[in-house]
């Protein structure tokens, strides 16, 4: 019988080395489409019978990306470009890229000249989301993406198939949300790293298969007695809370992660795809329903409130702001987040997330003193 550890290990292997998953899919004859984060309509890829594979770069010191990407490119896309240029994504049939920020606008050009073997399918989300015209626009934009995917798949993507995939994705989101809730009753087992692994691995797996594993994890956790966590609790906010070593520092200091607003994690799973009009309209409406995210235009962003509410709901003593190096959209929101935490009387901690270095010494000191403070 499988136990929790083996389920976690299975996901860990994939989260740490997505290439393993990629090769497995390629060997089985599947076409794989790279999906740059975040809010890429993976459902269309899924509906085409292809595998959407998240492109999240990884810890690496870029050696070739600097040819096209200036030093102040966000750490995330610099490593993605590096991997692309070095052929580490070889086998992927195309890459979907959302034009969410200036770095994406720039990297779209860099990718085209630097990674010639993986064609780019760029698209853009409407940021003025108040008008009915926004949904019409995005449905048309997704339609254009769909046409390009059909050319790669070699067949049309039917509405029924998209509807089916929407069901798969909504079920997956619900499973992840349930996992996060249940995990908080078992913080002795679900360490910050494991919590992260469960969510990160989903970006490299067919979602139905991932849901199946997560459901088993939830069942097994529920069978365990509820654990009274004696350590501290925090909420994470930012793009990613990586690498694993960083999360281990929390564990070492007896700090559990009880909620997050990370783009790599809960931000992706908190907004369901509603039913409205055709399936492309439904997917478009999901974007219009999203809030509290630095990549989404919102007058008077609700993000400060969201992280404070999360902290209160789950009894977190602190909020860790994981600031992706050179991510300007996050940097603009930084003062607002610190202020929201301050106003709520919740201590906050700012950590630099940098995929180009393995050195966590600065974070270690910061987390240690934060643990003593909260």
């Amino acid at each position: 019988m499988v136990n929790l550890d083996s389920l976690f290990n299975e996901l860990d292997t994939i989260a740490v080395n997505p290439r393993i998953a990629l090769d497995k899919y390629l060997v089985s004859g599947k076409k794989v489409i790279g999906c740059f984060p975040i809010y890429t309509p993976e459902e269309l890829v899924h509906a085409a019978g292809m595998i959407p594979m998240g492109l999240w770069g990884g810890q690496t010191t870029p050696s070739v990306a600097g040819q096209y990407a200036p030093i102040f490119t966000c750490s995330l896309l610099r490593s993605c470009l590096e991997f692309g240029m070095l052929g580490k994504y070889q086998g992927i049939s195309a890459a979907l890229m959302p034009m969410l920020c200036d770095t994406y606008r720039g990297v779209s050009g860099a990718w085209r000249v630097g990674v010639k073997d993986i064609p780019l399918i760029a698209f853009i989300h409407p940021q003025n989301r108040k008008l009915a015209a926004s949904r019409e626009f995005l449905a048309a934009e997704y339609g254009a993406v769909k046409t390009k995917l059909e050319a790669i798949a070699g067949h049309v993507i039917s509405d029924a198939a998209i509807k089916n995939s929407i069901g798969v994705y909504n079920a997956h989101q619900a499973a992840i949300r349930e996992f996060c809730e249940v995990a908080n009753d078992h913080l002795d087992v679900v360490t910050p790293k494991i919590r992260h692994t469960v969510m990160k691995s989903s970006h490299f797996m067919e979602k139905g298969a991932h849901t199946a594993i997560v459901s088993q994890i939830i069942d097994k956790l529920k069978q365990l007695p509820i654990h009274q966590w004696k350590g501290k609790k925090v909420i994470l906010t930012g793009i990613t809370g990586e690498p694993d070593d960083l999360l281990d520092l929390f564990a070492e200091n007896k700090i559990a992660v009880v909620g997050d607003d990370l783009a790599q994690e809960s931000r992706q799973f908190r907004t369901d795809i509603p039913k409205c009009g055709g399936p492309l309209e439904s997917l478009a409406q999901q974007w219009l329903d999203r809030t509290a995210c630095s990549t989404v235009h919102e007058v008077n962003s609700s993000r400060g409130k969201l992280i404070v509410d999360l902290a209160r709901k789950y009894g977190a003593q602190g909020i860790a702001i994981c600031l992706m190096k050179f991510c300007d959209v996050e940097e603009y929101e930084y003062p607002m987040l610190v202020k929201a935490a301050e106003d709520a009387g919740i201590p906050s901690l700012s950590l630099e997330i940098d995929q180009s270095t393995m050195n966590n010494e600065q974070s270690r000191t910061k987390i240690q003193s934060f643990a003593e403070m909260i």
Binding site: Q67, Y68, A69, P70, F72, T73, M97, M99, L100, C101, D102, T103, R105, G106, V107, S108, G109, A110, R112, V113, A122, F123, I124, P126, Q127, N128, K130, L131, A133, S134, E136, F137, A140, E141, A144, S294, H297, E298, V299, N300, S301, L323, F326, D328, V329, E331, Y332, E333, Y334, P335, M336, V338
Partner: protein
């Protein structure tokens, strides 16, 4: 040790420059006066459909232009330090944004008067993201910090080489329509469509005139020091739809034609080399840029930044206007499109090289340079040289590096010229 340096007598400003200064002063004064009367005034991004507020007689000022002016007067450092210090904005965000977000807070104190020109606090902001997405984040912060509304025209980004598809233009046009209706409600003023047509026509006349003026610099040697064009950008940013801009441009054209007739130029040295300047000016370092270029006889005859405000459309046709706002900014097009345009300009203006400002603030412009300079080199055969700088943050620029890079570029241009001339 003190030294007395003999002051060179300053050349009197040409009449057109005096007119620009008066026009700019009037725009600021109008805004201050309106504010004093209790009317609403706005702040706007540089390539926003200005025609609407112009039609409605609502004063609007432009933070990008204001930040440039403040930086050129070396008054930006304190504001930038305040944004990074007390306000906690990270130093990696655009320096215009840092400067302006600090200024927006400072001016809430009526006694504050350090910055120049000083803006009255806005009652609303106008946002178009055709130059970049940082503008969106910056204006969100203005709206959040000052608790004022945003009127937004999302202009998308043309990530493919093709022209924007009809559904994209429709989305932008519908936003403009909705913005007009919202502005009517917000201001309590009725929108006059006939006047709008006149403003549109005036904007087209001004854009066309400016383009004609720029083209005069294709002459060898150039009648104008390319850096002079920076001084007229405010006409297109602040007053694209005003008749006073037409008057200024007519005067400027006369002055240039006079140079042509007399065989003179506003470039202060013999023009040995002609280069294309890529990117925004380094406002705090303009003096050093110019001095260095002058020493090497390099005239930056043309630059892509000053032509970004030429918003060309058919008056009376909102789709055409929407299309223009989606495609006019350098940063709203792909690197390939931009660099192909640059290559054509380099050929047309007979440039010997390209000098690229790797602007620490502006990711998009920098990506264009990193990704696209090969395109220019291949298409035109002219050498490109990069230097590091920033439009407002004076900490980034290094005089020594600039000098070395210009020197290096000049050496290659010289070799190329010698080879060409046998």
């Amino acid at each position: 040790m003190t030294e007395t340096v003999a002051q060179k007598p300053k050349r009197p400003l040409p009449k057109s420059r005096v007119m620009v200064a008066a026009q700019t002063a009037k725009v600021y004064q109008d805004a201050w006066d309106a504010k004093a009367r209790g009317e609403k005034i706005g702040w706007s991004t540089a390539i926003f459909p200005q025609e609407i507020c112009e039609t409605m007689g609502i004063p609007v000022l432009y933070p990008e232009n204001n930040a440039a002016a403040i930086s050129a007067k070396h008054l930006g450092d304190d504001l930038i330090a305040y944004a990074e210090g007390q306000m906690r904005y990270p130093m990696n965000i655009c320096s215009y944004a840092r400067l302006n977000l600090a200024l927006a807070e400072k001016i809430q104190d009526p006694a504050y008067n350090t910055a120049d020109p000083l803006l009255p606090s806005p009652d609303f902001v106008l946002l178009a993201n055709n130059s970049c997405t940082q503008l969106m984040k910056w204006y969100e912060q203005l709206s959040h910090n000052l608790n004022i509304p945003i009127f937004f025209v999302d202009c998308l980004f043309n990530y493919d080489e093709e022209k924007p598809a009809a559904y994209k233009v429709t989305y932008i046009r519908k936003q403009i329509e909705s913005y007009i209706a919202e502005m009517e409600k917000f201001s309590g003023k009725k929108f006059d469509w006939d006047k709008f047509l006149e403003v549109q026509k005036r904007s087209q006349i001004n854009s066309k005139l400016f383009d004609d003026i720029i083209q005069l610099n294709t002459r060898v040697p150039a009648p104008v020091n390319g850096f002079d064009f920076f001084n007229y950008m405010s006409c297109l940013v602040l007053c694209r739809g005003k008749e006073s801009t037409t008057e200024i441009f007519k005067q400027l054209k006369l002055e240039i034609e006079e140079h042509i007739a007399n065989g003179t130029t506003s470039f202060p040295a013999k023009e040995e080399y002609r280069v294309h300047w890529e990117g925004i000016a380094c406002w705090p370092n303009l003096g050093h840029n110019l001095k260095t270029l002058k020493n090497y006889g390099v005239n930056a005859v043309i630059n892509g930044y000053v032509t970004a405000w030429n918003i060309v459309y058919e008056p009376g046709n909102l789709d055409s206007m929407a299309y223009a706002y989606a495609t006019s900014s350098t940063n709203s097009l792909t690197t390939e499109t931009i660099m192909n345009m640059r290559s054509d300009t380099i050929k047309k203006f007979d440039c010997d090289g390209m000098l690229c400002h790797v602007n620490r603030s502006c990711k998009m412009m920098t990506f264009h340079i990193f990704v696209g300079r090969n395109i220019v080199e291949e298409k035109t055969g002219v050498p490109c040289s990069n230097f590091d700088g920033d439009q407002s943050d004076s900490r980034v620029y290094s005089e020594a590096q600039f000098e070395t890079r210009v020197q290096g570029l000049v050496e290659i241009m010289k070799e190329n010229k010698e080879a060409k001339n046998g």
